[in-house]
Symmetry: C2
Subunit: 110 residues, 2 copies
């Protein structure tokens, strides 16, 4: 869980269902993408959960502004396109990009 940023900030929600093919290649790529995200300008944090049984995953990344969220989408797509595994790994995915106006934490963060 990330230190709660002060709104407004950008959120990129990546919801995916994996095929189950090539688990080792997928795991290496997922780790590389996580490292790459953390190096980008405007990066605020990332939350990622995968259920090994259903092969569904949700990754939520947080960005200071729309420019950094757009840049990350483009960097991520470029990195993914360079990999041969993408077609094998994902059955389907959806991306939702938006502006967070309100945020809450329990227990409250200071």
């Amino acid at each position: 869980m990330v230190p709660l940023p002060v709104p407004p900030y950008l959120v990129v929600v990546f919801v995916s269902r994996r095929t189950g093919d090539d688990p080792a290649g997928y795991a290496a790529a997922a780790e590389a993408m996580d490292r790459l995200a953390r190096e980008q300008p405007g990066f605020l944090g990332i939350d990622s959960v995968h259920d090994p049984e259903t092969r569904e995953g949700i990754t939520v990344s947080y960005w200071v502004d729309d420019a950094s969220a757009r840049a990350w989408k483009s960097v991520a797509e470029h990195a993914e396109a360079q990999r041969t595994g993408r077609q094998r790994w994902y059955d389907s995915y959806e991306i939702h990009v938006g502006t967070v106006e309100r945020a809450y934490a329990h227990p409250p963060r200071h």
Copy 2:
């Protein structure tokens, strides 16, 4: 994965870490909350992933407008407050509420 709504729409991102206490009570409550969400006005869809090993979860719900997203937060809090388990189930959680401006699906949805 939900049929991709047409932006703008609201997104409520719920990121949680569970204590691991009372798994049966938690599972029943999670199912009840999912059912409750689907009955609310303005509901567009819900994606939810939990990793049984790390006990982390991300639930993303989609709403037609800010009023329905706010109403859902209030209904959910009221329902949760009526349950005695909440303190036992969640170690911590965060909620991010925002407006989705762009959305993508692969394969593309029509």
